[in-house]
Every structure is written in C-alpha cells, then in structure tokens.
Symmetry: C2
Subunit: 95 residues, 2 copies
DNA sequence: TAAACTAGTTTATAATATAAACTAAATTTT
DNA sequence: AAAATTTAGTTTATATTATAAACTAGTTTA
C-alpha cells in the first residue's frame, strides 16, 4: 500500500536541491543556496549527505579567486528521485 | 520558488494516516496500524501529534469489551493536506 | 488461574535538521 | 598597509523527530 519514502530524499532541503539539479546540467553551491533560501551551513551538510548517498557529485574548483562548489545529479540520484516521486503517489495521489 | 512543507505532514507515517483518512469518514486505530504497518507505539505518538495540530479528531470508545480509538480528519486537516500536496508540486512536479 | 492476547500509552534512544560558530582567503575601506 | 568587510564555504552544538522498547490495563482462552 504505502511504499517507504527514501529518507535521503524525504527532507525538504535535500528534495529542493535534487529538484533543482534534475532540471540543469550542473549548479553552483551559491545558486542552490539562493534558490532554496537555505543557510550555508545547512546546505553544506545536506549536499554532503546527497554526495555520500551518491545521488550527486560535487566538484570543488576556484572561480575568480573564490572557491566554487559545483553539484551535478548522478544517474543513481535521478533514479532515486523518480522512485521517490512515484512512491509519493501512494500518499498524495488518487484521493 | 519552494514553499515550506508543513512539518506536521512531512512525515511518512503521519502523511500515510492523513492519506487514509482523506478517503474515509472515519477509521479505527487498528485499521490505520494495519494499513501503515506502523508499530502501535509509533502510531499512537503520531496520532496524538495530528490531534494536537487539530488535523484529526480522536474518539475513544469500547467495542466488544475492548478499547477502540476512532480517528476522523477535520476540515483544518483536509485543508492542510491539500496545501501540502500543492506545495509538493514545487519540488516534484514540473520536471 | 496462568498464559496469551488486544489495544493501546509512555518513555528512552537514535537519527535528523538546523543554526551558530568558525575557517580561510579575497576585497574594500580608511 | 592595517583593519574591517565580504565571499564561500565547513564544523560543531543543539533542538526536534521518529521510532522502538517497555509498560499499562483489561480480556479471552486453555
């Protein structure tokens, strides 16, 4: 009846990050921060969790002398996102 | 961009309970327990939280000599559920 | 009448989310 | 050129949550 909701994705901020990454090739940490209105600390932690889960990959570079963190969704992450969205239908769809 | 997700509803078990209650006039605790596969303790806590939020109302009776707990969704709860579902679209819709 | 079962509640613990505090370097101001 | 401010984060501490374990209270069965 109710499939389990992936706890990595069932978190407002991580879900927002994944939602943003689904639509683009890659995104900067600062872009994600702006779009989600998250604090840098919170975002940093959640990005690390998504990376540990291998749902995203993270590249650290420098841009204009400043550190730059680039995030990309992985195939595994895309798959998990789609599975999560389907599972949600058990809960909110078909009312 | 991303509306906040009501933390009362952004919980797998509470969301499942609300999802079940949306579809029916009322439901027994034991029915909710079976359908959600939750432990009684966990369900008891989450039912109390939904009641505290006034998203459901809870009636305690006896049936065949055994205690019976009946749950019903309130208008406020239905409203919150619908708002939650709409907010979710920001995260999972429109990909 | 003892054991097992029903229908829960309470409590303890583990996991989570979040903000506050911090690091390190770059830039701007005085 | 030192001090203050800004950028781009990370680490750590705390408060909240979810969950299971333990418990309560009564009922049924052997």
């Amino acid at each position: 009846m109710f499939k389990d909701l992936d706890p990595i994705l069932h978190s407002q901020l991580r879900l927002a990050v994944m939602s943003l990454l689904v639509g683009v090739k890659e995104a900067e940490f600062t872009f994600l921060k702006e779009k989600t209105n998250a604090s840098a600390g919170n975002l940093s932690v959640q990005v690390q969790k998504l990376r540990e889960a291998e749902y995203i990959e993270v590249e650290k570079k420098f841009k204009n002398n400043y550190p730059q963190t680039i995030c990309r969704i992985t195939p595994k992450g895309l798959d998990a996102f789609e599975t999560y969205v389907k599972a949600l239908q058990d809960y909110v769809g078909r009312q």
